[in-house]
């Protein structure tokens, strides 16, 4: 229970503090009177433009980061448990490559769809292809699914590269590069709603499946003897995490590291029990991505970095420290 309290406080504190940081020089008090004003409490003294910085840029961006971080961490936990593969990540089933292809189609070929919609459609097509391929020539097993995902990823990645190679003119590659590396720069209120909706529809149900995921750890046969309908459970879990991932990719591109490493980091702290692992990964993932993005948008002020670079640069050493600490304990 202590861990819940600690990580929830960390998340809340991260949101409150991160919105006050940015290239524009606006005091913390001004930021919060502006936000409270929009929530119907009190009056704000900020000009329209500075108020826009807080309410249209910073707050939606911080909240999107929280939703994406939580969603990716959750999807990572599920993928790792269901495929019994510690190297599994949310993008395993071709999701990010499919989403990238959808985004590239909008940005470069000019398909007239909203970018998040196109990315979502791309991700779902890739997932469907993966599952079709995995089931095409026999029984679907975790191993076959992962292999099918790799094949679909490779195909979608190649088509994406082909499109970029043929259509990029002048310096338009810069925009697509930012998206491929993962970036929260496009976060607006619409992104917040997409992120929160995915958490509500897929994230929260997944968080309640701790016992089920524990049973997967012992293998399909043991899970079956525990009274689990293995196939049905596996597909609902995979679909839930695919929806989660596709939604997150659609608002932020493919941000690496969070979904792969964060579940392991939390596991090092709490042990392998999923009832704890799921919600704690979500909470820590949310805080982690808020801070990574805050660094991305303010460290090199007034320049911005794609957040995917920051998650790996900071995440990898932190994870190494965790590993080292764990080794000395045992």
């Amino acid at each position: 229970m202590g861990a819940y309290l600690l990580l929830s406080t960390l998340l809340l504190g991260s949101i409150v503090f991160a919105v006050t940081i940015g290239p524009a020089n606006i005091s913390a008090a001004e930021v919060w009177t502006s936000i409270l004003h929009h929530l119907g409490i009190g009056e704000s003294s900020l000009s329209v433009l500075r108020d826009g910085i807080v309410w249209q840029l910073r707050l939606p961006r911080v909240l999107t980061a929280a939703a994406v971080g939580a969603g990716l961490a959750l999807a990572g936990v599920v993928m790792q448990a269901v495929t019994r593969n510690p190297l599994a990540d949310p993008y395993l089933l071709g999701l990010s490559s499919g989403a990238s292809l959808g985004a590239v189609a909008v940005l470069l070929i000019g398909v007239s769809l909203l970018l998040p919609v196109a990315a979502f459609i791309g991700a779902m097509i890739a997932l469907a292809l993966t599952l079709l391929l995995a089931g095409a020539f026999g029984r679907i097993t975790p191993g076959r699914t992962v292999l099918a995902g790799i094949a679909v990823s490779a195909l979608a990645g190649a088509v994406t590269s082909l499109v970029i190679f043929w259509t990029v003119t002048g310096d338009s590659y810069r925009e697509i590069l930012g998206w491929l590396l993962g970036s929260l720069a496009s976060a607006r209120w619409s992104s917040v709603w997409i992120g929160l909706a995915a958490i509500a529809v897929a994230g929260i149900p997944v968080m309640l499946t701790g016992r089920l995921l524990d049973s997967f750890a012992f293998g399909d046969t043991s899970a079956a003897t525990l009274g689990v309908n293995v196939q049905a459970a596996r597909w609902s879990l995979l679909t839930a995490s695919a929806v989660l991932t596709a939604a997150m990719v659609s608002v932020s591109g493919s941000i690496g590291f969070v979904g792969l490493i964060l579940p392991h980091a939390v596991r090092l702290l709490t042990g392998p029990r999923h009832r704890l692992l799921l919600p704690l990964s979500a909470l820590l993932g949310a805080s982690f991505l808020i801070w990574a993005d805050t660094a991305a948008r303010s460290m090199f002020d007034p320049r911005e970095l794609p957040v995917g670079i920051v998650t790996a640069i900071f995440g990898a050493p932190v994870f190494a420290l965790l590993l080292a600490a764990r080794r000395t304990e045992t």
Binding site: G22, P23, A24, N25, V48, L49, R50, G52, I53, Q56, L57, R58, V168, T169, G170, D171, S172, R174, E175, G178, W179, S183, A185, S186, R188, R297, D301, P302, R303, E304
Partner: protein, 320 residues
């Protein structure tokens, strides 16, 4: 062979004496009059003689430089053009096009050039037109617009019109033609610019939508803005162009926005990006449509920089 050598040495003598004449009269241009046998270009030694006869140009700046010097007959191929030629440089027959993008080394070599003149250093790469070393080993000279040198020791610390004039005279020397007329014309254009004195601030919006890519503190955008009396809000970034953030743009609330117009990211697209984002829609320049337009091909350092400055100055004067 002997006769050939003879002609070359006579030509060299004539060129040398002409150069001597040029230095003895008051110099109208910073022309590179000493008879150096090589020029240093982004840290790469390029042999000066003989004057190139078959040139492949990559990007608009290099093509337009040769056209402005009246060297259109030397161009055997163009590639990666950023946009249409300006009216005053149009050729009676279209120039041969090797590729819409960066050409591959084989395509370049097929045109049998004795010089490849590129607007960006990165055009010379293994997956592009070939590395400069490779091309040199095949006897093909290479030249990069010096304003585009990327290594810190060769990049202009802060681009000036002198740097552009130097490129003009260097190219003129290489081709053994006179740069005087072109340089005089450039100077006259610059002289004719009425600098705005209102102390207006500006954003140079080059590309990007989520993360704007803007003209920063040391390149052609900064040079043009300074020339016409605009204060660049991104001037503190020590780079030619750089990624910026909307938050910084909004915090600075620039008086005018320079929109770079290109086929892949048009001025209209930029205006709709600015207007559709609720945070930038309230910028003064966006609400009052205080936009200046510059074609992409004129926004990189070259013979069009002075004209671009003059054109933008006229647009700026029309803004109340």
């Amino acid at each position: 062979m002997l006769r050939f050598l003879g002609t070359v040495s006579i030509a060299a003598l004539v060129a040398g004496s002409l150069a001597a004449c040029a230095t003895s009269t008051p110099a109208a241009s910073p022309s590179n009059a000493d008879s150096k046998s090589t020029i240093e270009n982004c840290g790469f030694e390029v042999p000066m003689s003989p004057p190139p006869q078959r040139v492949v140009t990559i990007k608009s700046t290099s093509t337009e430089m040769l056209l402005a010097l009246g060297l259109s007959d030397r161009i055997v191929g163009t590639a990666f053009q950023d946009g249409p030629l300006p009216e005053n440089l149009e050729t009676p027959t279209p120039l041969p096009v090797l590729a819409d993008k960066v050409p591959s080394e084989e395509v370049v070599l097929e045109a049998n050039p004795d010089l490849v003149y590129a607007g960006w250093e990165s055009n010379f790469s293994v997956d592009g037109a070939g590395t400069r070393e490779d091309l040199a080993s095949l006897g093909v000279r290479t030249y990069v617009s010096p304003a585009a040198c990327k290594e810190p020791q060769f990049q202009p610390k802060k681009l000036t019109f002198d740097d552009i004039e130097q490129e003009i005279s260097q190219i003129a020397d290489l081709f053994d033609v006179s740069a005087d007329e072109l340089i005089a014309k450039q100077r006259a254009t610059l002289k004719g610019i009425a600098k705005d004195t209102r102390g207006l601030t500006a954003l140079w919006f080059s590309s990007g939508s989520d993360i704007p890519y803007v003209g920063a503190g040391i390149g052609a955008p900064e040079l043009i803005m300074q020339t016409i009396g605009l204060k660049n809000i991104a001037a503190s970034i020590d780079d030619t162009w750089a990624s910026y953030s909307w938050e910084s743009v909004i915090a600075a609330d620039p008086d005018v926005i320079v929109l770079v117009d290109s086929s892949w990211n048009s001025k209209d697209k930029k205006i709709s990006i600015l207007e559709s984002n609720p945070a930038t829609a309230n910028l003064t320049a966006v609400k009052e449509h205080r936009y200046l337009i510059v074609p992409f091909a004129a926004s990189e350092a070259g013979v069009r920089t002075a004209d671009a400055a003059a054109d933008l100055a006229r647009q700026l004067a029309a803004i109340p």
